[in-house]
Symmetry: none
Subunit: 148 residues, 2 copies
């Protein structure tokens, strides 16, 4: 939580600074309004991306323990199985993308991670699922109801 708080703190500071600069330059009139607006836009666009990225991460972590009503309908992820295999949240995320047929590079892009990181996760997944290839891992994962 600390980094996020710090991040938002800096953000607010940034915002205040922008306003300050904006005001000063507004008086002096030597910097185009467009530039200020553009900078603000860019910063907040990135902030939007960042914010959403982190909030989604949090959401995907809370999901597992929620389904208490379901009477095991045809297709539901077996979280017990995941726990039993020792798969972590991130590994499961990667596994889902793998099952969609994405390459390591594409998974990295989708999850905002480097290909190296994906390779590490994939390697761990293969080990934990006792698979030799990603295709086999997907096959096993589907049979174990780890992915849909």
């Amino acid at each position: 939580m600390r980094p996020i708080i710090i991040g938002f703190g800096l953000l607010i500071l940034c915002l205040l600074l922008l306003f300050r600069i904006g005001e000063v330059n507004f008086i002096k009139g030597d910097v185009k309004l467009e530039v200020i607006v553009a900078i603000a836009a860019l910063i907040f666009f990135l902030v939007g991306l960042f914010f959403n990225y982190h909030s989604q991460k949090k959401i995907s972590q809370v999901q597992p323990p929620s389904p208490a009503i379901a009477d095991t309908p045809t297709s539901v992820i077996d979280y017990e199985q995941i726990k039993k295999l020792g798969l972590t949240q991130r590994e499961h995320d990667v596994l889902v993308k793998m099952a969609e047929g994405l390459s390591n590079q594409e998974i990295g892009t989708a999850l905002f991670l480097s290909e190296s990181t994906i390779k590490t996760h994939v390697s761990n997944i293969l080990f934990k699922l006792d698979a030799k290839r990603r295709t086999q891992a997907v096959q096993i994962a589907k049979q174990l109801k780890i992915v849909l």
Copy 2:
């Protein structure tokens, strides 16, 4: 990738529009700079959220295999589909093995063929299914009921 291009196009339009408004108000001098910057920031923050949200949805949308309802006996190979795609018998054989998570070498052994031959078949399968990787081909094949 088209949606992304369109998205950025709209984004740029939005930006230009903002500048236009900014300039007009700058001349009239009846709106505070802070307000403009704040609006720009807010808009692009939302755009950031929206953009990220959609890029993530797109990727995970390929999933729903929609468990066919009653009329089709839950799981049967759609031979019409196979014919439609121009897949030959041998290619389908290989596709099935691919879906089981076998390597090219293993498929070759299973079908009494050389690895070279399997590679040729796999390459043709990928082309006919419009897939880039075998994992993707398997995903597509399962959705199209070409393999179980």
